[in-house]
């Protein structure tokens, strides 16, 4: 698929690839998947199915935007899944307790921003690697959540709280959030000083300092921003169903990090875009749905997924090598 279009208009494409290479690969994979699976079972292309693929996984894409920024800045956050569980629980508890919905939405997001900024401050000023701090946070949030709730499910939330279930113009609201936040974040990363500072800090901290950027403040800022995206993702996660499990969603951090890196964010920091991570999150959602449509034996589902990830990564590496 990709090689065919590459042959058509090499020079323009090559220039374009320079900026958005991995994004293109992921986008083409999505298109190819839709064509192949749609051919096997046309119901895959029905608007209800496409809506559910997007809406059911928008929160992963949104969390991956924040994660991409963190990784571009040269850091990582393995506590993101636990944080989403905590946010959902706080939001649900507030909503059931009868607080106005805007409080039930905004307080947990604020909580997420504050905690995440705190993590950022610890990382920035003590120079403890972010993976260590967030590993610790993962334990604290997970254990703390279970101690506080005993895993009691939250239900009977007021209907106006259920923002993810609202469908303005027939499209799930989560999709609007995903698209709007991706575009905003992409513009922000490209055209603001702070956005460029994030790339600079991830590329080379000392060089960034020499260029007049305060790296510590940038790191705290990017963690706070990541907290905002995690917060929004947590609210969408909480309002998708009638029940909140008030536990940590299993393996969510791996899914989010994988989406970011498959989307072309270099784990070494300094390069990548947030558009790629959103596309990668969509790709995963499509694969998950497609494997059921294609009747792939559920036993082999994860093996196929692993191979796909590996293929994407190797294709990207080969492309980069050619580009050099």
């Amino acid at each position: 698929m990709s090689s065919v279009s590459a042959g058509a208009s090499r020079s323009t494409l090559q220039r374009f690839l320079g900026g958005y290479g991995q994004e293109i690969v992921v986008l083409l994979s999505i298109v190819a998947l839709f064509i192949v699976v749609g051919f096997v079972n046309p119901r895959f292309l029905s608007d209800t199915n496409i809506n559910s693929i997007f809406a059911g996984n928008a929160y992963i894409a949104i969390a991956a935007i924040g994660m991409s920024m963190i990784i571009i800045a040269g850091h990582i956050d393995v506590s993101v899944g636990a944080m989403i569980g905590v946010i959902a629980t706080i939001a649900g508890t507030l909503a059931v307790a009868g607080y106005p919905v805007w409080i039930a939405w905004s307080v947990p997001i604020l909580f997420s921003i504050v905690v995440s900024a705190g993590t950022g401050a610890l990382v920035a000023y003590t120079r403890i690697p972010s993976i260590v701090v967030t590993l610790g946070m993962l334990s604290i949030l997970k254990g703390g959540l279970i101690s506080a709730t005993d895993g009691a499910w939250i239900s009977n939330m007021p209907p106006e709280f259920m923002i993810a279930q609202m469908r303005p113009f027939g499209i799930p609201s989560a999709v609007y959030f995903m698209v709007a936040l991706t575009i905003l974040a992409a513009l922000f990363m490209r055209y603001t000083d702070f956005g460029r500072a994030i790339y600079a800090v991830g590329g080379n901290m000392e060089a960034a300092r020499a260029a007049g950027i305060n790296p510590e403040r940038s790191v705290i800022g990017v963690f706070a921003l990541h907290g905002l995206f995690t917060g929004v993702a947590g609210i969408l996660f909480a309002t998708q169903l009638q029940v909140i499990q008030s536990t940590v969603p299993p393996n969510l951090e791996l899914t989010v990090i994988t989406a970011s890196v498959i989307g072309g964010v270099s784990i070494l920091g300094g390069t990548g875009t947030v558009i790629g991570s959103t596309l990668a999150a969509i790709l995963f959602a499509c694969i998950g749905s497609a494997l059921i449509f294609l009747n792939v034996s559920a036993y082999w589902l994860r093996a196929v997924l692993g191979l796909l990830i590996l293929a994407t990564v190797l294709a990207d590496m080969a492309r980069r090598r050619r580009a050099q």
């Binding site: 119901r43 895959f44 209800t48 239900s155 009638q242 034996s297």
Partner: protein, 368 residues
């Protein structure tokens, strides 16, 4: 790049080839099944001698205060919160038991073993467990028996000689019959259905599915089993999987079985959000509280479950009876507080009763 893409495609093709060639995933295990008769007449069950284990030189605990720890598969889900409530209720009622629940945060054999091991060292008198794996848990339970600790299982069994008694919530074939009969009543004898289960490796779910397959083949031969999907114990994943099934099969899909207390409400939610209430039936194992909204709206007609609070309650009473020496091998029934006399089956299992079917008329009376 071309070579790489080609290689990747080749690898994928090979793997999907083997994936498609692999035996169709049903989600059931391959142990022998024993479907009940279609009209529900109970088969004659042969009396079996006691096949449980026994603790080595247990101290005399008759009437004395004992400390008991309950280690479920995992903590933090509604179902095991309910069993914990039953255990604590019974402990309070008995007055001479100091009980608490502790366990892993995800259904993990290694962590569960570590928890049990630590409580053996700390010197408890009794252990209640719900096994993540019947065989993997056996060595550590045998160790507990060797230390003179009373060991009683509930919900999910271990190999019999690794524990003394097991409180069986309902027999596998009984659950299977209740599920399939209710589904057949809702979607008709020729309807097609799919199953949303937890994971491949959960023994109870695999057993139920195998029994459901056997019973459906014998008593509802024209029902069509479309496929089974895996959804962990994860709300959102269960919802996504059920939604995908609805989208994939369109009008062909008439019913969804939810095999866990997580999958069933999530499947009901998927049906609700797809506006398919009334056209796609959801039948499943679930706790009443999680299902009330769907049952009251009429989207779900029947929920099958035993009462998990009673299950925990019975398990605690059995453990007390074992510690007191009033329940000994060879007994045919055991007294379990307000539940009255419970029957003993299969040598060393205590049967809680037949599975209960919650409907619109009675679900309001339950709170767990």
């Amino acid at each position: 790049m071309k070579k790489m893409t080609l290689g990747a495609i080749l690898g994928l093709a090979l793997m999907s080839g083997s994936a498609l060639a692999a035996s169709a995933w049903t989600g059931g295990d391959d142990l022998p099944t024993s479907p009940l008769a279609c009209d529900g007449t109970a088969g004659a069950s042969a009396a079996m001698p006691y096949d449980g284990g026994s603790p080595t030189n247990p101290p005399d605990r008759k009437g004395k205060k004992i400390t008991v720890v309950d280690i479920p598969k995992l903590i933090g889900i509604g179902y095991f919160n309910a069993t914990t409530k039953g255990i604590l209720d019974a402990a309070a009622e008995l007055g001479n038991v100091d009980a608490k629940t502790d366990g892993p945060t995800k259904a993990n054999i290694d962590e569960q073993i570590t928890f049990i091991d630590n409580y053996i060292t700390s010197g408890v008198d009794g252990i209640l467990f719900a096994a993540n794996d019947p065989v993997a848990i056996a060595p550590v339970l045998k160790k507990a028996l060797e230390k003179g600790i009373n060991v009683v299982g509930y919900d999910a069994n271990a190999t019999p000689d690794a524990r003394q008694w097991f409180v069986n919530q309902a027999q596998f074939n009984g659950i299977a019959k209740a599920m399939v009969d209710n589904m057949a009543a809702e979607i008709g004898e020729e309807g097609s259905f799919a199953i949303v289960t937890s994971t491949f490796t959960t023994p109870n779910q695999a057993r139920w599915i195998a029994e459901m397959g056997a019973y459906a083949a014998a008593c509802h031969p024209k029902m069509k089993w479309l496929e089974t999907v895996e959804a962990q114990e994860d709300n959102n994943l269960s919802f996504n999987q059920a939604t995908t099934l609805i989208n994939k099969y369109g009008d062909e899909l008439k019913g969804i079985f939810g095999m866990t207390s997580v999958a069933t409400p999530a499947s009901a939610e998927a049906v609700t959000q797809a506006n398919k209430c009334g056209t796609i039936a959801v039948v499943g194992l679930a706790t009443p509280n999680a299902m009330k909204p769907y049952v009251e709206k009429g989207c779900v007609k029947s929920v099958v479950l035993w009462n998990p609070v009673d299950l925990g309650y019975a398990a605690m009473h059995v453990l007390r009876a074992v510690a007191d020496g009033t329940l000994v091998p060879g007994a045919t029934s055991v007294k379990a507080g307000k539940l009255g006399d419970l029957q003993i089956i299969n040598g060393s299992e205590i049967l809680l009763g037949a599975p209960y079917v919650f409907t619109k008329d009675n679900i309001g009376q339950f709170d767990f």
